[in-house]
Symmetry: C2
Subunit: 317 residues, 2 copies
Amino acid sequence: MSIKKILITGGAGFIGTNLTKFYLEKGIDVIIVDNFSTGKFSNLPKSNNLQVIEHDLINSLPARLFRDVDMVMHFSANADIRHGMVDSMKDIEQNIIVTEKVMNSAVKAGCKDFIFASSAAVFGEPNVFPTPENIFIPRQTSLYGMSKLAGEGILSAYAENYGIRASAIRFVSIVGDYYAHGHVIDFYNKLLEDPYKLEILGDGQQRKSYLHINDMMNALDKVVNYQIQQEENHFEIYNFGNSEYCKVTDSANVIISEMNLDPEITYTGGKRGWVGDSPFVHLDTSKIINLGWKSEIKVLDALRLTIRWLINANKKF
Amino acid sequence: MSIKKILITGGAGFIGTNLTKFYLEKGIDVIIVDNFSTGKFSNLPKSNNLQVIEHDLINSLPARLFRDVDMVMHFSANADIRHGMVDSMKDIEQNIIVTEKVMNSAVKAGCKDFIFASSAAVFGEPNVFPTPENIFIPRQTSLYGMSKLAGEGILSAYAENYGIRASAIRFVSIVGDYYAHGHVIDFYNKLLEDPYKLEILGDGQQRKSYLHINDMMNALDKVVNYQIQQEENHFEIYNFGNSEYCKVTDSANVIISEMNLDPEITYTGGKRGWVGDSPFVHLDTSKIINLGWKSEIKVLDALRLTIRWLINANKKF
């Protein structure tokens, strides 16, 4: 089986835009469904093989949209982990209900292959590092993590009940071109506003394992190629992350250096930037490595490239 | 700390009714919140220490209800595992959204202690028997299992973010007085309708581990007493089940014998009664046993007592 047409939800977001470009370049037709609440139309490539649909996925998708669609990549989500306890229905609506609605419409329309954007946040605060996919998760630390674990459960229940094939990707913070959400951009924006000081949430000793979007695209392609060769009723979970990690202070220093600044750095203190922040994220990626993947961009280089892209993008607009 | 007042959601259902009686007999005040969609008012005891509120929990609960409430036992749920894929929003609404709403209202009103009715269904089809709490769950086989795992995640995220104490109970099929849902009553009702034949879904070789409600009450009391002695930010998961199991055919034979019938038995065939049915349920209950619990009623006796109660209850009405 080969893939000719992909439907990407959240296709105008950071990862979605990269997915769209990646698959268009491979000669695959792409349909994007996005409500443009955070996604940007201007980031999308112009192509006759790209169809863009503005639609809020809280409303079901019409069956005709899935005609000839070989694979659905569900990347639309609320990505704001930090404020999940404040607006507590947001994760349930955007990450659970929408996932159920997308799966329901697509499966009923006959789609057989699915990729789901889960998250390393489903691990809460694990006690095994690097963290493999197949560990007991003692507790969730955020409603976001809970909602992504529920999303995985929806896909696996559909695999069991309808014989579809699905893979859920638990990824660390992804950085790179079109990066738009997370603490790297928070630092960048704070420094644009006031170049003389930078407040870091927590003690700065939190260890994070950023992965560059280009490495992620290659990993995802391995998963896709593996999945479409499998029998029906297939559900697998994959960790995507860098083999290295760095401290939040290290990432701040890369940003400062790329921006040619010398701000005074202050810390709010505590092991976590906020309740639900993970003091240490480092995934065991043996499973995706066994599919033939290899990360090419080191963790601080991934940050450096991202800051350069942000500086360059800001110059343009 | 001692418990003086408990709020039980779904308090008019099978387990809720038993909980209500159990705690009233201990001299504890009980508030029941139930929408009476399946719960029965007539089953509830008359007591000056019992307050019954008819309310659909999809609408938030007013803060005044939680005044002086020491513990919330959240047992309201959609319990229909089998039809979850047909009406796929039901599990999300009744088991996820309602859980989030109950937790949100109760925590904001100052409640500190919670018990959550999870389910052995969260294990999907595990590959370890007896199944302990702390295993990797490779996949969900039902939206019901997914929704209960999400419910656990909501409680643990609240424990982490608000310092509450919570325990989630993953229980097998519970039987006993006021039993009202599941395949034991399905068999009973089929035989009332036609005493000459009984159709069993699957091959009848599915192994199930029923626990009697009286054993469950004692186990829950151990959890409650342990939990209220702990520091804040406490989240634990407990398996509740019988140390024994029996085949579905064995349970059918007990029912037939108690009803003094001799029907022709037919099987629909296959390892599972339906997609999402677990061919084998047997939980490792070491964790609750370590809190001092011991099951007193053997699996076939639990069924026998339940059928006797059903026959007796039917005689009365």
